[in-house]
């Protein structure tokens, strides 16, 4: 009986630890995972990126060396597979929904030429992060495109800085690390992992700010609010003036 319990505990422990291992270090891939990723790649990505992720001129870039983080970001945000060839791929519901499948695809790309791996949960945790420093770094380096509170904004030639509101901490980390599309790269030596955590903490915390009245208008402040008030109130006042001065017809006249 004791032996049976011990065996049970042992098996249970093995299951738990193996589960932990695959969750905490998704980049530690095995051959089976890479094979699954290869199959997923052939059925979803190879049309544009080539059978061996070598890329095709003027169609899609090579994925050799982009790393697992880039794959996870692009696929989990739904940007890849791309719906069409446009100035910038927008966020949409992911085509590959199963996180395990995304990790397999990422493991396959990672096996081709290395690159930044997917960050662990601890790497993107906001626990104990320095919000003040995160805000300073965000305002200096990110706010120009993404707005002070991550509401997004317009760029040139149809590109835009997307809103960070739906982004998960992992996706924010991966975006900084890999510089998707027009976004510049902020590698771990320039903006350290700890500073990235601070930035993530700021971006995720600022969403929780109360917003009485409903419309934050990107929290850009007096400019947007003034514009909205100007246009909205102007229209309202014109209509009010029309109503007040409208000729009131009498039936007997």
């Amino acid at each position: 009986m004791v032996a049976f319990v011990l065996v049970l505990i042992g098996v249970g422990y093995a299951v738990v630890t193996s589960g932990n291992a695959s969750a905490s270090s998704p980049a530690a891939a095995n051959a089976a995972q890479i094979a699954e990723g290869r199959n997923l790649f052939l059925s979803n990505c190879a049309t544009c990126h080539g059978d061996f992720a070598e890329g095709q001129p003027n169609i899609a870039p090579s994925l050799i060396g982009v790393g697992a983080a880039a794959v996870d970001f692009q696929v989990s945000t739904g940007r890849m597979p791309a719906a069409e060839s446009s100035a910038e791929n927008d966020r949409k519901p992911p085509h590959i929904k199963n996180p395990a499948q995304i990790r397999a695809l990422a493991a396959y790309i990672q096996s081709l030429g290395g690159g930044p791996p997917i960050p662990s949960a601890a790497q993107v945790s906001s626990a104990g992060a320095n919000l003040g420093l995160g805000q300073q770094l965000f305002v200096a380096n990110c706010a120009a495109c993404h707005n002070f509170v991550g509401a997004g904004g317009a760029l040139t030639n149809g590109k835009f800085g997307p809103s960070l509101v739906p982004s998960t901490p992992t996706q924010i980390y991966e975006a900084m690390l890999t510089g998707p599309e027009a976004m510049p790269v902020f590698n771990d030596l320039t903006v350290t992992p700890q500073e990235k955590r601070d930035i993530i903490a700021y971006v995720t915390q600022v969403r929780a700010q109360p917003n009485p009245g409903g419309f934050s208008l990107g929290r850009v402040g007096p400019v947007t609010e003034g514009l909205v008030a100007f246009l909205g109130l102007l229209l309202f006042m014109v209509l009010a003036a029309l109503w007040i001065t409208a000729k009131h017809r009498k039936t007997h006249e």
């Binding site: 770094l137 380096n141 760029l155 510049p184 902020f186 030596l189 320039t190 903006v191 009485p212 109503w243």
Partner: protein
Amino acid sequence: MSDTNSPGMPGAGDSGEPSWPEYLTTGEAHGTTPADPEPEGRRAPHRVIGTPPPAQARTLLAEDAGERRPAPRELPAEPDDPDRAKRMEKVVAACFIIAALAGLAFLVFYGTIGVGSITGALHSNLALGTSLALVFLLLGIGATLWVRHLMPTVELSEQRHPMASTAQEREAFKETFEEGADASQFVKRPIIRRSLIAATVPLAVAPIFLLRDLGPLPGTSLDYTVWRKGLRLMVYGSGRPITSAEFNSPGGIISVGPEGFLDDDDAMAKAAVTLIKFRPGELVFGPNARPGGATVPNTVVPNWTVDNIVGYSKICTHLGCPAALYDQTSHHILCPCHQSTFDATQGARVIFGPATRPLPQLPIGVDAQGYLIALGDFNQPVGPSYWERS
């Protein structure tokens, strides 16, 4: 009529020509009576608070000594559709009652919602603004409905007196003025006159002296920044120096400032720099130049870069906004304020927008420890144009 304004009228009784606006006088003053005089028994009519005296007391119509009198006005006593008027009366009253409640709510919100925290202030703003807006909006709507649906709509023309005073009055004024001038002996006593003028002259000149506080003049301070040879480039925010080996990801940018000045807002307002890492071959190089020396337009100065790392002033040359939107695929630096766009591979050449000059390139190098340093100040003033800019 005893309750109406009936001020004294100098000269009016003698000439027979009315010199005071008719609407301030009563009919009795000219010996004429309105068409429908009040019965004697109602000399002190019941007045409702907030309403003017009886309509007969005031006439808005001109009355040229009784020569020409327009027909008495006829205002319809009842609205066309009494049922509709009744309904409208209720609507108007409802507007006013809700406005009153909203006004009370404003007072309650003012008293109950604390503004001790940012959240409290946000809620207070919303509550006070909404309730006050309701008050004014409903007052306006109610008043408009009242006028449009309950008050009679007839066109009235009102005649007006000539604006000018009568010749007699002007003569009287002239006399009074001259009399006063003589009495003051302003002309007769020159010492008083001149000393009075002398007393007022400094007061008149004083505003010109206040212009002094617009200064001091900026001098040459706009021509230079705090960058000088040997100052390290510090990452803005974390305050760390940075090496070219760390800043090694092509397509990367980072905001940096001069060592020791990151917290000096006045200095940073001019000295902020965007550091950009390029892939080999992306930059369009011109000839080498010494720090502060002349450069060739539309090119990057090769010896002012380190491993394809270029530093550009972050201050837009149009109006001084932080031009920091960097598109790493097209290498465009975009200014968010007025969409000036600069090509970072070609010495930040202006390719779109209102800016007329490229972003100045900071000469950078490495020190003995491998950290990125400035080799000198920018070779031209940063930011927007100004009067004395050479």
